[in-house]
């Protein structure tokens, strides 16, 4: 850990908040993507069954 002197709180707060925001955005994007992919797969199966019936 580098010596941040009297600005340690300032620098660490900036890094923690930024990384938290980035991780939240990445996590949310992945979660929404996965959820949508599963929902579409289910709907496509249902549509195929519906059109065959």
């Amino acid at each position: 850990m580098p010596d941040l002197g009297k600005y340690a709180d300032t620098v660490l707060a900036a890094y923690c908040l930024s990384i938290l925001c980035l991780l939240a955005l990445v996590g949310l994007s992945l979660w929404q993507g996965r959820k949508m992919k599963q929902a579409l797969a289910r709907a496509e199966v249902a549509a195929r069954v519906g059109s065959e019936a």
Partner: protein
């Protein structure tokens, strides 16, 4: 092969599926190396002390917040002129990414400004236009949610994007236009007249590269989700018609 062929959702899904893993790995590597280099292996600034390390987050985030809006503007214009759905969905997908970068730039700017300027915030031309750009981002996302018809939403948000681009440009050039306020000019420039010291330059460049790739990866991922959502809504509409 024409670029417009990728406006076809199927072709876009094929290409983006192949490109996305490569871009993601490159983005993660550049950001990791750039931030570690900047945080652990660069010295303090003679004036700003250790707070100079905030530059590796603040500058790339602010740069990409403005560039994200410009990308949304180009995609919106393509939608308005050529009516390609993928371009409208790409603009929509970029909104939350741009907003997150904007928030990071605002928060890190305030945290950096407090010890350096003695204040968290000042109504300086660059900061004020950037704040207005943030409000435009919120408005843009709200409009996509508020309008039910996706084509109408794309039309309205495209016009909003056109208007908001004034503030995206002002955020970048306000310092040159008015030459006043607390915020300094560009940290990097193409003509190399205004640059940070050499010791900070390379890690900063690497972090900017990482943010650009992260933006690209997230927009590709989110556009793929939006295309799937559009396909799902079509299937559900067909299902309703069949059951009626």
């Amino acid at each position: 092969m024409s670029l417009w062929e990728y406006a076809n959702p199927k072709r876009f899904m094929g290409l983006s599926g192949r490109v996305l893993p490569v871009v993601t790995i490159l983005a993660a590597t550049s950001l990791f190396v750039g931030l570690i280099w900047g945080f652990f292996f660069t010295p303090d600034d003679y004036k700003q002390g250790a707070t100079v390390k905030i530059i590796y987050l603040h500058v790339p985030a602010a740069l990409m917040a403005i560039n994200a809006w410009m990308m949304m503007l180009v995609a919106s214009l393509i939608w308005l002129v050529r009516r390609h759905h993928v371009s409208a969905l790409a603009a929509k997908a970029a909104g939350p990414v741009g907003l997150t970068f904007t928030v990071i730039a605002l928060v890190t700017g305030a945290i950096w400004g407090q010890p350096m300027w003695g204040t968290w915030w000042a109504w300086d031309p660059r900061l004020t236009s950037f704040l207005i750009l943030t409000l435009f981002y919120f408005g843009y996302l709200a409009m996509w949610q508020a309008v039910e018809n996706p084509d109408t939403a794309a039309d309205l948000t495209s016009v909003l994007c056109l208007v908001g681009s004034v503030f995206a440009l002002l955020s970048r050039y306000a310092v040159n236009f008015w030459n006043q306020g607390l915020h300094q000019g560009a940290s990097l420039s193409m003509d190399k007249e205004e640059h940070v010291a050499d010791v900070f330059y390379l890690p900063l460049l690497l972090c900017i590269f990482g943010f650009v790739l992260l933006f690209l990866a997230l927009v590709l991922l989110r556009t793929r989700t939006e295309i799937r959502a559009r396909r799902l809504s079509i299937l559900m509409a067909q299902e309703r018609v069949r059951n009626a």
